[in-house]
Amino acid sequence: MTRLLAEGVGWAVDGRFVLVDVELALEPATLTVLTGENGAGKSSLLEILAGTRQPARGAVKLDGVPLPEIAPAHLARRIARLDHAPGLYLELSALENVQLFHALLHPGTVALDAAALLTDVGLASRDHARPVRGFSRGMLQRTALARVLASGADVWLLDEPSTGLDRAGCALLADVLQRVRAQGATLLVATHDPALLPLADRRLHLDHGHLQPAQVASTC
């Protein structure tokens, strides 16, 4: 069964359409890579798919249920997003951030082994307890990845996830993505990073507000 489905999605900024008639079906245990020029509407599409932005036209369905009919809280447990903003409290440590978001989404459950998660994304244990304000872009991105992992969501919408990551970080990201895919998660990754392209089960290109299978290997 299709997990996330976009039907005739359209979205406009300042009275002009950027996305028109977007049709997209994402299946469980697949990784789809989304490319497109700057300003093509990739980020907006991800926001619409995540249910944080209302499309001007069309609808998005999660397991056949339109997003507006799903309680936002439930949606947040199913769909995780990683985008330009790290989504972290800068005064809190990496540990505190991951624990906080886990507790907000899954209150009353067993405490999470946040330290293991952070080690998992390659954050040295000396960095676990200091405020993330002092982190580099790549370290922030790793912490954000740990936050997404902690959410336990089965739909991942990632916007340029390799931003700021070094070679080891990219390999680690690819590793994590493959692992959650194997666990049955649905992944959509907007990226231009050639390192992530080989992972894709399917590649889509966003051009003139329209999704089509990508012919070119890489746009970079």
Binding site: V13, G15, R16, F17, V20, H210
Partner: protein, 240 residues
């Protein structure tokens, strides 16, 4: 697309004509039917338009607030346009009240402004309506509508509390409505005609603004549709 406004606004033109005639009639009555007040003199004649404007303002703003609440429950472009135009019309009448009020106050109480409860309440309503409209215009695409609707719905019950507060605060305030001033039949007739005229005038303004907003919404929708077609045409492989 649903019909938004008829190209021949016969109903609106009828409303406009009746309102115009009634305002003229009211002016005639104020000038020739009602005699000047014994104690206040000619300035008392402001009363006829001042009080009816105040009532029109209260009606418009209450409607605007209630419609905003409805729009929060069940969003619809029509209700939104109705609420928005009601608040704008209410703001216009608040300005009218705050212009005629001091003119009268100067003559009858000897000061341009007194913190008389009703005057204070009107000023607060004006500030609130202006703030709500300002926020609506400053917010990004579409989000302003919800924010303004939320604030407008909250403003009505709080306005009632402001009313209670300024009444208590004002202590003994001049009773204007229940004075002996409008006992004569001529004055009563004038007051009724003026009230009807101003209320119809308010309805006309409200309808006019509502129609303009609906047309704007329609224009926006058409522009959007056009840009969607533009995007479709530019696609590779699209029929030219």
């Amino acid at each position: 697309m649903a019909k938004i406004a008829s190209p021949r606004p016969t109903g609106f033109l009828a409303l406009l004509s009746v309102a115009t005639l009634l305002v003229l009639a009211a002016l005639y009555c104020v000038a020739f039917v009602a005699r000047p007040d014994v104690t206040l003199g000619i300035v008392q004649k402001i009363f006829y338009f001042h009080v009816s404007s105040a009532i029109a303002m209260m009606l418009c703003l209450s409607c605007g607030s209630m419609l905003s609440l409805i729009d929060l429950f069940a969003p619809s472009d029509r209700i939104d346009a109705l609420a928005h135009s009601a608040i704008e019309t209410g703001l216009a009448f608040a300005l009218m009240v705050l212009t005629s009020g001091p003119l009268w106050a100067r003559k009858s109480w000897g000061a341009w402004w007194t913190w008389e409860p009703r005057l204070t309440l009107t000023l607060m309503l004006l500030l609130l309506a202006a703030a709500v409209l300002g926020i609506r215009s400053m917010a990004a695409d579409g989000s302003g509508r919800k924010i303004a609707a939320a604030l407008a719905s909250l403003a009505a019950p709080i306005a009632y509390l402001i009313h209670v507060a300024v009444e208590k605060w004002g202590g003994t305030h001049p009773m204007v409505l229940k004075g002996g001033g409008i006992q004569s039949p001529g004055m009563q007739l004038t007051f009724r005609v003026a009230m009807l005229a101003i209320l119809l005038f308010a309805a006309t303004l409200w309808t006019l603004r509502f129609r303009v907003l609906r047309l704007e919404q329609r224009l926006h929708a058409l522009r959007l549709e056009l840009s969607a077609q533009d995007v479709r045409k530019q696609r590779p492989g699209a029929p030219t």
